[in-house]
């Protein structure tokens, strides 16, 4: 039987990890709001939304890579995609990605193809980072839930 010690430990680990995500600027207050929306009627709200975010972002990043790869890149289209990505990231509180998108939009306004490529790299980087972090967080959550289920309340 898993003792309360393990649950506490896992809890502390999760809390520390989550706190680090906030303090390191990966997530902002919006994510907290999402977490608040999760309740009995909607137990997997956060995971659902985040998965949706992952899908959406990957699609958008592919579109962006394709659009910038062309000879005469259509900056309006690129801007539209970045706008979408910015919207999604701000909705779930992915601060890093959102900031990178803002910079990206500036490059689009200036029609600076090299700048855009650099920004795209940056956005990809941020996205990958936050995706890993969030996935780690979910794993920790799963572990915690599992530990909680197997431990009997005293």
């Amino acid at each position: 039987m898993a003792g309360s010690g393990l649950v506490d430990q896992l809890k502390k680990q999760l809390e520390a990890f989550t706190a680090s995500l906030f303090s390191e600027g990966f997530l902002d207050d919006q994510f907290t709001q999402l977490q608040q929306l999760q309740d009995e009627s909607n137990p997997d709200f956060v995971v659902e939304v985040v998965s949706l975010f992952f899908e959406d972002s990957e699609r958008l990043l592919n579109e962006l890579a394709k659009a910038l790869d062309q000879q005469n890149a259509d900056f309006t289209k690129v801007d539209a995609h970045v706008h979408q990505l910015k919207g999604s990231s701000s909705s779930i509180g992915a601060q890093g990605v959102q900031r990178a998108c803002i910079a990206f939009r500036n490059c689009c306004e200036e029609k600076n193809i090299e700048g855009c490529l650099k920004c795209l790299q940056l956005v990809k980087q941020e996205y990958t980072l936050v995706k890993n972090k969030l996935q780690t967080m979910f794993k920790l959550e799963q572990q915690l839930l599992a530990a909680q289920r197997t431990s009997f309340p005293m």
């Binding site: 709001q33 608040q36 659902e48 949706l52 919207g87 999604s88």
Partner: protein, 738 residues
């Protein structure tokens, strides 16, 4: 033969005598005949002789005399009776004419004599006129010389040229031997030889100024003849053999700018004169004529004027040079100051960030540390760390704020806020501190004080807090009262002073806040220093709480930025003090169509929390945002339908939907108009609310124009959405302050 009256000659042999008589008579006759001829000839020549008739008479007389003598020629020998008759006639006629002539001459000769006198008189007159003519001519020439001299003198503004030219021209005009100018020395006690005509390098020869001859010259404005032996005229040693020419001296007033007082224009009271000495050539026996003296006087005056002009010019040139120097220096100083300010700003900007980051780290980690398991000593230590670092953080903020305030880079953040709640918050914050010191705090808000006002809420609160904090800090016992009221327009004038000039205006009101305490008070001489940075009125030893001394200085800056005034009154040490300040706040706006409401602070017990089954429609093309908004609304209990495009929205929307939330990028204006048209009356149709991350006024204005019922700023928290829904359902409109 008739007896003749002629005497027969006694000596008929004297035929010689007869011959001589004969010849003489002949010549006499000739003369007698030629004289009238001459007379006629010359009278004809001169047309002016007035006595023609006399001449005729005279001519007749002479002719007849001649005739008589001629006829006499025939009477020497035997002559006939005819001859005798002719002779007699001639004689008779001659007698008549000569008598007439004699009588005539009696009249004429005085006249002729008077002609002579008249001629003499006219000659004298002519001579006199000639003399006068000569005089006038010399005068005119003098005038010409003066004009020329003046022209020469006034054609330059250089002092030396003026004086040199004067001497040269005077020397030339008057043919002088020597011409010299003596200028008073700086001390004014001596005259120094400054310029001479012939000697080109005058030695600095001086004479004392109070010599009688000099005084004599200075006391009159005329040219004065002086002795050639006086010290000013003895310009070079001369051997005794020649007679020095006459010397004249005249004063030249040295005018100064200050002499030109309009009030006493004719009386130029100058104290300083220069002396001009002019010497006629030696051995020339020339004398100074009046017109020459006049010339000299006029020239002296002109020189005085020219010199004063030159002096003025020199003065203004000097002033201009000085100004230019000062200008350059000021420019340099300004540039240095600007550089210094820029350096300081850069430093501050860097330090701002650099100082705050570690401060925040210290504060954050210390507070986290507080949450962990600590032994009592450790807890105490952590608390001290926290307190000190909080203090330090405040200090840093104050200093940085003040610097921004100083160079005017701080701008107030205008916003609408609840005035009453500001005071309540301050009250709540200071009450615990005050009760620790056993001080009673009372808050008194006037009933006419508006609930909402436009201004900088944060800084107003900071000011009230600071002033109240000071009251508490410096009171050991008693009570503190905080009063706030609006100053009526009529009473505004009472608060005016040199620095503060309140003007009543429609959209603004003046709020007065007074904090009275019964504490240690302030002595009158310290009151002016209160608002200066970094000064503390109490000596270090008695200061009981830390403070940088910046608080009041910052408050004063804030109050000034709010077009207000802050002052402290105290009766003296130990008698408490009253701190008051007035700030200008605005009335919140009121739109005609839509009432501007605000999402009030969370007061959960007032707000409808149960939106069970409320049908809402969410329109957003971003899947993630859509899910988040949906989750949010579902969490609040709503029945949420989501659509991804405006067409779909128009298709799906129905009367049952109470609210439609749409992302502002989605042609929301079209959808809104469509809904308005389709669903008609306001109370039954769905409310259309836009969600936007855009904080510019244009978005909000567009939304109002297209008939949207509300605009909400993203990100939306749960509590915010709760309040939003409540407001919407109650008032059916909600425009968030941008």
């Amino acid at each position: 033969m008739d007896p003749c009256n002629c005497i027969e000659p006694q000596w008929p042999a004297d035929e010689l005598l007869m011959k001589y008589q004969y010849i003489s008579d002949f010549f006499i006759a000739l003369a007698y005949f030629s004289i009238p001829l001459e007379l006629i000839y010359f009278v004809k020549k001169s047309a002016v002789f007035p006595y023609r008739w006399v001449l005729v008479q005279f001519g007749a007389f002479i002719v007849l005399c001649g005739a008589t003598h001629l006829i006499n020629l025939w009477t020497f020998g035997m002559h006939s009776r005819t001859v005798a008759v002719v002779m007699t006639t001639a004689k008779a006629l001659t007698a008549a004419v000569s008598c007439a002539t004699a009588l005539m001459l009696v009249h004429i000769i005085p006249d002729l004599l008077s002609v002579k006198t008249r001629e003499l008189f006219l000659k004298n007159k002519a001579a006199e006129l000639d003399r006068e003519m000569g005089l006038i001519r010399t005068q005119e020439e003098t005038g010409r010389h003066v004009r020329m001299l003046t022209h020469e003198i006034r054609s330059t503004l250089d002092r030396h040229t003026i004086l040199k030219t004067t001497l040269v021209e005077l020397g030339r005009t008057l043919a002088l031997e020597e011409c010299a100018l003596w200028m008073p020395t700086r001390t004014g006690l001596e005259l120094q030889l400054s310029y001479t005509l012939r000697q080109h390098n005058p030695v600095g020869y001086t004479v004392p100024i109070h010599l009688p001859v000099i005084n004599q010259v200075f006391s009159s404005n005329r040219a004065v003849k002086i002795s050639p032996n006086s010290p000013v005229a003895r310009l070079r040693p001369f051997a005794g053999k020649y007679v020095p020419g006459e010397v004249v001296a005249v004063r030249v007033p040295l005018l100064h700018l200050s002499n030109f007082q309009i009030n006493d224009w004719p009386e130029l009271s100058t104290k300083r004169y220069a002396l001009m000495v002019l010497m006629l050539p030696s051995d020339s026996a020339r004398q100074w004529h009046v017109h020459e003296l006049e010339l000299v006087e006029v020239v002296a005056d002109q020189v005085a004027v020219a010199l004063s002009h030159a002096a003025i010019l020199e003065e203004s040139m000097r002033a201009r040079d000085l100004l230019m120097e000062q200008n350059v220096a000021l420019d340099l100083a300004r540039r240095e100051a600007e550089t210094a300010i820029r350096a300081r700003n850069d430093f501050l900007a860097v330090m701002n960030h650099e100082m705050r980051t570690p401060m925040h780290a210290i504060i954050a980690l210390s507070s986290l540390l507080q949450e962990t398991e600590l032994s009592p000593e450790q807890r105490l230590m952590v608390e001290m760390i926290l307190k000190s670092s909080n203090l330090l953080a405040t200090l840093i903020n104050d200093v940085l704020d003040l610097s921004r305030l100083e160079d005017g880079s701080l701008q107030l953040e205008k916003g609408t806020f609840n005035l009453h709640s500001v005071f309540k918050e301050v009250f709540n914050l200071i009450k615990p501190v005050a009760s620790v010191n056993k001080l009673l705090v009372t808050l008194n808000l006037a009933s006419d004080m508006p609930v909402y006002a436009v201004g900088d809420e944060k800084r107003l609160m900071q000011t009230i807090l600071n002033v109240s904090g000071n009251a508490i800090k410096f009171s050991k016992e008693g009570s503190i009262s905080i009063a706030a009221f609006v100053i009526k327009s009529e009473s505004l004038r009472e608060y005016r002073n040199a620095e503060f000039f309140p003007v009543p205006s429609d959209g603004h009101f003046y709020l007065c806040v007074q904090v009275k305490d019964m504490g240690s008070g302030i002595s009158p001489q310290d009151i002016p220093k209160l608002f200066t940075k970094f000064t503390q009125t109490q000596p270090l030893a008695t200061r009981n709480s830390g403070g940088s001394g910046l608080g009041l200085a910052i408050c004063k800056r804030f109050v000034n930025l709010m077009d207000g005034h802050i002052w402290i009154e105290s009766e003296g040490l130990g008698k408490g003090c009253t701190a008051s300040f007035i700030v200008k706040l605005g009335f919140p706006e009121r739109h005609n169509e839509t009432k501007l409401l605000f999402v009030p602070k969370v007061q959960a017990n007032h707000v409808q929390t149960n939106f069970a089954g409320l049908k809402v429609l969410v329109l957003d093309d971003n899947g993630v945002s859509r899910s988040v908004t949906k989750g949010l609304l579902m969490h609040l209990g709503c029945n949420v339908t989501t659509v991804g495009s405006s067409d779909e929205c128009i298709r799906v929307v129905s009367q049952e939907h109470k609210v439609v939330f749409m992302d502002v990028s989605m042609d929301c204006y079209e959808v809104a108009s469509h809904i308005r048209e389709r669903f008609g009356k306001r109370h039954e149709r769905p409310l259309v609310v836009a969600l936007t991350g855009n904080t510019d006024k244009a978005t909000k204005e567009n939304c109002i124009r297209f008939g949207l019922d509300g605009v909400i700023l993203k990100p939306v928290s749960v509590d915010k959405m709760r309040n939003v829904l409540a407001e919407l359902l109650e008032h059916r409109v909600l425009f968030e302050a941008m």
